[in-house]
Subunit: 344 residues, 2 copies
Amino acid sequence: MPHQYRDDYEIYNLGDVVLQSGITLREAKLAYKTYGTLNADRSNAVVYPTWYSGRHWENEWLIGAGMGLDPAKYFIIVPNMLGNGLSSSPSNTPPPFNGPRFPDVTFYDQVECQHQLVTEHFGIERLAMVLGWSMGAAQTYQWGVSYPDMMGALLPFCGSSVTSPHNQVFIDSVAAAIKADTAWQSGWYEAQPQIGLRAASRVYAGWGFSQAFYWHQEWRRLGFSSLDDFLVGFWEGFFLDDRDANNLLTMLWTWKHGNVGNTPGFDGDTQAALRTISAPIIQMPGRTDLYFPPEDEQWASQFIHGSEVRVIPSIWGHFAGGGSNDEDTAFIDRGVKELLDGAA
Amino acid sequence: MPHQYRDDYEIYNLGDVVLQSGITLREAKLAYKTYGTLNADRSNAVVYPTWYSGRHWENEWLIGAGMGLDPAKYFIIVPNMLGNGLSSSPSNTPPPFNGPRFPDVTFYDQVECQHQLVTEHFGIERLAMVLGWSMGAAQTYQWGVSYPDMMGALLPFCGSSVTSPHNQVFIDSVAAAIKADTAWQSGWYEAQPQIGLRAASRVYAGWGFSQAFYWHQEWRRLGFSSLDDFLVGFWEGFFLDDRDANNLLTMLWTWKHGNVGNTPGFDGDTQAALRTISAPIIQMPGRTDLYFPPEDEQWASQFIHGSEVRVIPSIWGHFAGGGSNDEDTAFIDRGVKELLDGAA
């Protein structure tokens, strides 16, 4: 169900950020929230970036007393992705770079901004861990490639280091559904394009959860009374919950162009980039994830030293990593604990 | 690639057909084509219905000299589905039942019309086989349930006897993409809603072929030079190739409501309906089919006496049954031969 919108976050002023595209994002802002306390030697920090359309409060299911990400032990920083509506985004950037003129942002750009927050603002030189779901997993990989010497451990779940062609086809279909609505007006809408956003949510519905999830009516465990109740209540609600069409399209661009090989110095060579990851890592795809299938992570693992691919044995599809299914959350949390204990 | 539109078919006038919905389809027409010659004792007929948006000429890849469906041996009838633009459809029915007022048609209705052609027009009392891909598979199951005593053999491939909830979610997403285009005008368009049809084709693109198909760039074997070339050339072309938005929506309704349990007398009981199938049958799902996964066919097989589930070992996803990949075609053709030899 849609979460309540919250304003419990800090803003870090990044200044003018020159993006990979060549555009300068002026007076760029990173919205973030922290959990726990940075210890004296600044060794207990964890970065946990957000996912497609997610906000910091939608990461909190993996943070808590007794969990791997225990605020009593760790200082957990959740940076909101550029484009998610809290950090600099189409919806909150002043003209002329507002709306559909907001620049393209890569995962590399995202991590550069987060690195600035972590090092300049907090003075942290080493991270106990970076982890994330979905586009958060892509940022996790990017951290591993951009800053291998900073890294205690990596736990990307239900995501990838390079966006596969099939995933790109899926991404394009979500964008096409939004844009099919004439009310979208090439991004210069005055009100949100309702029909397009709702169509996009319906497209997403089939991809987000697995065939078996629907077959077994697992949505009942989320409190819905029928399939239609779930499709409108969960999915359409999801895409209307303070989301913005241009923000969603900006994040789709970031996702579609995900590739650690586009880190400066690698000239598009994904394999070479993956070979530079040196931190302990568990790659954690979901067994029934329809757009980040385990095979893609198996492929990447060939190029990552010492990597373990540990598949989440779930029928919740991509949303095995979404925090709504207790068994999956416990599975991921065990991985977090293992890596953090190993790093301690 | 889009096939050339053809007019090499016959029209059978069904008269007034009362559909399951209660609406009468007046002066209903069934467009069909036959291959081969009906033998003297009328024992060599095969019915091979079409699939979502398919026309008879798009079934011909499985018909030919030396193949199971050899016109030298069999009399193959390919009836075009109601709604496909050749048989009675939104696009060719006179007012007031034209366009979006075209009535809802079930698979049961489809088979009733085909049965009329087969028995009244051709005087055939027994069929050597019914087979079909996708929605053609659903019609195959329906034939098996509606007319068990007529049936020599059944070969449904990449389809199901009841449309699964996940498949319904996918179907709704295709419909939502078409309808998101304001030019759709609730079905009262004067020109085809281009943006909606193209968006729907992009949605379909991710579902039609598997993740591995895209990963390995199998589209190159279809003659395309890049992913974008394939997405526009194959997929957008597919949805623009003499297709019509209302026709596509009518067929989606048929598909979404597929359930042999809705045959009169079964009161929605899919399992009871499946138990009445008595013909030799091979259920042939594709290993990587994303909306008709093999698990669904395994489920159905529990209720079908003597059924064999034989999975097409392909990475072509749903299109393993589409006739474009020679290995898959050979696999399906072997099943056709086995069943026809057994029935002979």
